[in-house]
Structure formats: C-alpha cells, structure tokens
C-alpha cells in the first residue's frame, strides 16, 4: 500500500511518460486518447470543487462544459467565415486565438454558474440535483433550436485554434498544453483546499449551522465554489471542442453531466486526483471495452453499481486503503 501523495506523483509521472512514449513510438491515436482523458479530468476537477469539497451534487455541469464548447465554436466559426459576431453596439469579431477563447469561455460559464447557482442554491438536497439537471437540459434544448449556430448538427471548425509559440495541430504539443492547464488547476485546487476559503467551504458542507455561527455565510461560500467550479468546467469545454474541432448540443446532454460525476466517484470523491484517475479509467474502458463489445456501457453500469454498493472511496481509496478524503 502506498500513500495518496506518492500515488498522485505516480499518476502525474504516467500522464507525462505514456504520451511521450506514444510520441516516440509514433502512435498519435494514443496521444489523442490521453488528451481526451486529460480534458475530461479537467472538467471533472472543476466539478470536484463544487461536489467534492462543497458537497453540491450538480447534475447539470454539462451546461458549463457546453457553454465553453460553444464559446470556442462561435468565436472560431465567425473567424473562419470572416463575419462579425455583432456589429452593434460594438464591433465584435471572431477569433482563432486560444487564450482569448479561454477567457471568453471562463467568463461566460462563470456568469451562467452565477445565475444557475443563485437560483439553485435557494434549495438543497434532492431539489438541487433536479434543478441543476433541469437547467442543463434547458441549454441542451436551446442549442438544438438555435439555428444560427447549426442547431442539432452543431458547428465544425476546420483548423484547430492557435496558441502563441506552439503548433497546436501537433498532437503532443496540444496534449502538453492541456496537461499544463490540468496541472495548474490541480495545484490551485490543492492550495484552495488549505486556504481559509477551502476550509470554510469544507465546514459549510459538513455543518452549515456552525459556519453561520462564526459569522460566515454558507450559501455565499457554496455560490463562490459553484462559480469557480463552473468556470473550470467551461474552460475544459473549450479545450474539448478544440480537440474534436466540433461542437454540438451533445456537449450539453445530461449523460455528460452524469459522466462527470462518474469520473469523480470512480477516482474517489473529494480527492485531489480523483477526477484524473476516474477520467483516465473511463477513457481506457471506453477504448478497450468499446472495442470488445458494442454494449460496453452495461459493464460500466455494473462496475459503477459495484463501486457504489461495496467499494467506498473509489480507486484511490482502494489503492491507498484509507477511507475519507477531503
């Protein structure tokens, strides 16, 4: 048995070495799979702040994933068709620059998280789950009927967007970019968990009444966590859209929200690297089981049931044999 800290370092080494090996062996598909896993991990790491630390079971995080995706899709679509996004009151043009797209993705998904959070946090428990699910679905149906940006068919972007100094079309360079963002977010999350805000949020999950007695507002703490969480998932959405060079309403689907929760639980709730382990396991299973059987989701379902019913603490809990987490 190893400690969680050592396991985390091992995972990080794997995230660096496996794609490097694939690069050396000239297997670009493996790098693409790894990129997919890293982006899912980032999206789930965002959700983990709300769900793992804040205890907010959001079944609507696909909303932010999709908003990030559409931020990329819409900006790049206007850039590739040389049309302006809007001409009044300001001239806004499309862009192919990743940093600008990321900023837009983060700001728009944070704003959406603020509005959804303000409404949803008026309630708690099972109401919260259903309401976030419903808001996610609202975006799904909205994009389906939004004919200006492809409606049900979505938007195709012909060339991946640019990042200064990198050739983003090279799989290993794009992977490195995504991994760097994931590491930065995980590092920030680790700091956040130890910072006064993280400690207060953790306490707000466990005993809101006590947090209130010391003069903090648990709802505001949770709202802040929800907004940060939505912004990170939105950034992941923009990267995911860039990976596929395609956005469609399926990014908003409720299955996506469910899968984000699944990543966290497979890895281990409230653990820093839980989303990474969960997303990597999911992508590997999808690849291997999906190759074996068309009905691989049955096996995934069975595995999930087993984890929920019998194995607490997810895979990281299993490997480190230590209950608990954040």
């Amino acid at each position: 048995m190893i400690t969680e800290r050592h396991l985390n370092l091992l995972i990080l080494a794997g995230l660096i070495l496996v794609p490097l090996w694939a690069w050396a062996a000239d297997e670009p598909f493996t790098i693409t799979l790894a990129t997919r896993a890293v982006i899912f991990a980032l999206a789930a790491a965002g959700l983990n702040i709300a769900l793992g630390i804040g205890g907010l079971v959001s079944l609507g995080h696909a909303a932010f994933f999709g908003i990030g995706g559409y931020a990329m899709g819409i900006l790049a679509h206007h850039a590739q068709s040389y049309t302006a996004l809007s001409t009044w009151p300001f001239l806004i043009e499309g862009t192919k620059s990743m940093p600008v797209i990321w900023l837009v993705a983060i700001v728009t998904s944070a704003l959406a998280a603020l509005v959804i959070g303000l409404l949803s946090l008026r309630t708690a428990g099972v109401y919260f789950i259903m309401i976030t699910l419903a808001f996610g679905q609202m975006f799904y149906f909205f994009t389906i009927s939004w004919a200006a940006y492809g409606g049900e068919d979505g938007l195709s972007i012909y060339i991946r967007n640019d990042f200064p100094g990198l050739n983003t079309l090279d799989p290993i360079q794009f992977y490195g970019l995504c991994l760097a963002i994931l590491c930065a977010v995980l590092f920030a999350t680790a700091r956040l968990m130890r910072a006064p805000f993280g400690l207060a949020l953790n306490a707000a999950r466990q005993t809101p009444a006590r947090v209130e007695t010391v003069g903090l507002d648990p709802t505001r703490l949770k709202l802040a966590a929800f907004v940060i969480s939505g912004a990170i998932t939105g950034l992941a959405g923009a990267l995911f859209a860039d990976l596929n060079r395609f956005v469609s309403p399926t990014m908003f689907s409720w299955q996506m929200s469910g899968e984000l929760i699944v990543f966290i639980i497979i890895g281990g709730t409230g653990r820093l690297f839980g989303p990474v382990v969960g997303a990597a396991t999911f992508v590997m299973l999808e690849h291997w089981l999906g190759g074996l059987s068309e009905y691989w989701l049955i096996y995934l379902g069975g595995m999930l049931l087993a984890i929920v019913l019998f194995g607490r603490g997810g895979l990281i809990g299993l490997l480190t044999r230590r209950e608990g987490g954040a």
Partner: protein, 306 residues
C-alpha cells in the same frame, strides 16, 4: 389565431400534462416515502413501452400490450428495488444518483441488446383511431382524448388510494415517521417494494400509452424523466396534488409556448427571425417557469420540506 386551434392546443397540452403526471406521481411517491431520488424511473417508462410494443406486436391486441407493460414495469421495478434500491435508502443522494445512473446504463444497453437500435412501432388500437368531433366543431384524435381520460382516471384512483385505503394510510404514515409504523407492525420493506412497483407500473403505463403516438426507442425515457423532475420541483416533492398541478402547468406551458411564442414574436419581428427566436425561447419556457416558482416558493407550490 382561431379559437378552434387554441382549444386543440389546450387539449394537446392537457394530454401531455396527464402523461407527465403518471411519471411524476411515481417519482414523487418514491421520494416522499423512501427519500430516494430515482434517475432510473425513465428506464421503467421505456420498459413499459417496449413490453407493450412486443406484446401487441406478437398478439395483435393493444389491451394485452398495456397489460404486458404494467406487468413488465412493475416486475422490473420490484426486482430493482429488491436487488439494488433497498441498499440505497440509508445512503446520501450522491450514491443514489450514481447507482440509479448505473441502472440507466444497464437498462438502456440491455434493451438495445435485446431489441436492437431501431425504433419499434406500437399502433393505436382500431377502436380508438381516427378523429372525433367535439362540441364546438373541434376535430380531435380519439386516442389522444382517451389518453386524457385515462390519465385523469388514474389520477383520481391514485388520490382515492392514498386518501381512503389501508395501503394509503401506510404510505402517508411512512412519509411522516418510518420507525413508528415499523414499530406498529407494518412490514416496511414490503411496503417500500410495493410503492416502488406501483410507481414503476405508472411509469410503464405512461410509456406504453405514449409509445403509440411516438416511436418506441432506447433513451425515450430520459427526456420525460427530466420533465417529470421539473414537474415535481414545481409541484413540491412528495405531493401528489403538486405533481398533478405541476404536470398540467408544464404540459400546457410547453405545448402552448411552442405554438404561440413564434406567432407572438411575428407581431414585431420579421417572420423568419420570429420563428427561430420564438422556438428557442419556447424550448426554455418551462425552465423559466421553474425558476420563477423557485424564486417565490423554494419548496414548490405544495411542498413542505426541502
């Protein structure tokens, strides 16, 4: 906009609403009594539709199809309750969400494996096909009218069951204090299985009835499930009355919004823009309704607790 078209759309909205009620009633009962959030309720709707399509296809009888739907959904519900759900009552909502999400994957892929990916079709029974002329000269499909009738009958029956019968007393007691009724000698785990099977049967019935006017396919349950969530959030979790009012509100809002918003927008916009803007807004209308209800009553119209 003619009054005739308005009346027809109101009937459509009612029909949609009562079918949503059949879904929402089971969900809200299961939550009210057992405190369980069941995402797999949509799968039971799908099971009902597939059972009806298979049985009606084999025997040619729609009534046998309905019976098969009720039986299959109730049995699937009871089985799932005994094997899985029972272990989740004491767990937190996150575990319940995850386990029932896993059940959806198993049900959906299992159905796809059994029946294939192509949709099945369930025909409207001969006796109920064709239009009927209502007072005022409205031509309306008889089958849809029958759906409204069946939905209202089931709602009334469910109300009586809960208000007047021994089982109903036990259900209401279970909502309030489960230890107390267990101490009074009621077999609580049998009661839970029964309620779960009842909710499942209602979902299966809705699936079979709606299956005749839509195609029967894998994944048909989840959109309805999410609308049923909206219904019980609006009505208040645990309240059958709330589920009924909420279902009618959602059914009418969704149907009328889809028809009238584009028309309304045409009054001050170009027709093409009006159609697309109206359709976009209409698709969000019930969620806006839900948001509005939440602002004024965070526990829903008839809810007492969060």
């Amino acid at each position: 906009m003619t009054p005739l078209l308005l009346a027809e759309q109101i009937l459509n909205g009612l029909q949609f609403g009562v079918m949503l009620f059949l879904m929402a009633a089971g969900l809200t009962l299961i939550f009210g009594v057992m405190g369980l959030i069941n995402l797999a309720h949509g799968s039971l709707y799908m099971v009902g539709a597939f059972a009806a399509a298979a049985a009606a296809g084999a025997t040619g009888s729609f009534a046998l199809g309905l019976a098969a739907a009720l039986a299959a959904a109730a049995m699937a519900g009871a089985l799932v309750e005994i094997l899985v759900i029972r272990r989740l009552y004491a767990r937190d909502h996150l575990d319940q969400v995850l386990a029932t999400f896993a059940l959806i994957l198993i049900f959906s892929e299992g159905t796809r494996w059994l029946f294939g990916s192509f949709p099945l079709f369930l025909d409207v029974p001969g006796a109920l096909s064709g239009p009927v002329t209502l007072p005022g000269g409205i031509q309306y499909p008889l089958y849809r009218l029958a759906l409204i009738g069946i939905g209202l009958l089931v709602a009334a029956g469910l109300g009586l069951l809960i208000a007047r019968t021994r089982i109903g007393i036990q259900i209401r007691a279970g909502e309030n204090d489960r230890e107390m009724i267990a101490a009074l000698g009621v077999d609580i785990s049998r009661l839970y299985t029964l309620i779960f099977a009842l909710g499942a049967a209602l979902a299966g019935l809705a699936g079979a009835l709606v299956g005749a006017i839509q195609s029967v396919q894998v994944g048909m349950g989840e959109p309805v499930l999410i609308l049923a969530f909206v219904v019980i959030v609006i009505g208040g979790i645990g309240s059958i009355k709330g589920a009924f009012i909420g279902a009618l509100l959602v059914g009418l809002t969704d149907t009328l919004g889809g028809i009238f918003l584009p028309e309304l927008f045409k009054l001050f916009m170009e027709p093409a823009t009006a159609t697309s803007a109206g359709a976009s807004l209409a698709s969000m209308l019930i969620y806006i309704l839900m948001g509005a209800v939440l602002i004024f009553r965070p526990t829903g119209l008839f809810g007492s607790r969060a």
